[in-house]
Amino acid sequence: MSHHEQHAGGAAHGSVKEYIIGLILSVVLTAIPFGAVMSGAAGEVVSITLILLCAVAQVMVQLVFFLHMNASSEQAWNTISALFSVVLVAILIVGSIWIMNHLNHNMLMGH
């Protein structure tokens, strides 16, 4: 318990500065992909890459600046359980897409 009495798991303290930085970063990371797609200036591959990179970056920004996630030992269980969920989510989404894209392979009569 470094400061204040209420340092509960997953709920470390933020500061005004931290929240403002988080807000500015998330606005920038939202404006970039929206701008790229709406202006149509970037090509398809560039747009999709930008969308993916900005989405991942913004989720990180939200986790760090708004949910105050970090590697401190106080938060170790939060982080470990979150990482477990990320693995679960990846299996679920990538696995579903993979299976559904291959659904009709080897099912054609006469092959």
Partner: protein
């Protein structure tokens, strides 16, 4: 058989080792964190369904003909801002300022209401254009995913009202602080889900 157990000492948390003993709020918040992660898996399932079905329009109107990105940008702005204002409400609570807490919570509630209003408006508009939830697999997946997020936002807003009632009754007590921390986790989590929604559903769908 009838050996009566001694009553647990006051403040007993069920932890065997009291050395690294967590307070009540820590256990509750961690439990809520686990719930949030299970909710995350629920949304992942809906995202997977959407990914699989997103091109199956079955002759109904296609998403790229309907999506209005500037409208989605407006919804996004409301939700991102509401995450910030909730953070400010938490800072108010940490300082023990009921005025700041209720004021920022009120702003957050209005931003959430604005977001929901825009979303429902959009759903009605889409349905009128022929893209109802039952029009095709792709649209069912669309409404299933985005509607679930909208229901969560609605639940968060109901929760906010109930919590304000409790705050007015009991002040910023430890119990209310714990509830507030859980609600803030919930609200920020919805923001994260929305980032995935506008990236993968709206932006990718419009590229």
């Amino acid at each position: 058989m009838n050996t009566a157990l001694p009553a647990p000492p006051p403040g007993y948390t069920g932890y065997i080792s009291e050395e690294h003993h967590h307070d009540y709020a820590g256990d509750t918040v961690f439990g809520f964190w686990i719930y949030i992660l299970s909710d995350c898996v629920l949304f992942a399932t809906l995202f997977a369904v959407f990914a699989v079905l997103q091109h199956n329009f079955a002759g109904s109107i296609e998403a790229s003909e309907l999506f209005d990105l500037s409208y989605v940008a407006g919804e996004t702005a409301l939700l991102l801002l509401s995450s910030f204002t909730f953070g400010m409400a938490m800072l108010g609570a940490n300082k023990g300022s009921m005025k700041a807490l209720l004021g920022w919570l009120g702003v957050t509630w209005l931003l959430g209401a604005g977001f929901l209003y825009m979303e429902v408006n959009e759903f009605v508009h889409f349905t009128h254009e022929g893209a109802a939830a039952w029009a095709s697999g792709a649209w069912s997946a669309f409404y299933g995913l985005i509607g679930t997020h909208g229901l969560h936002v609605f639940a968060g807003m109901v929760w906010m009202i109930v919590l304000v009632g409790l705050l007015l009754r009991d002040g910023i007590s430890n119990e209310n602080r714990t509830r507030l921390i859980c609600l803030s986790l919930f609200w920020h989590f919805l923001d994260i889900i929305w980032i995935c929604v506008f990236s993968f559903v709206f932006l990718m769908g419009a590229v």
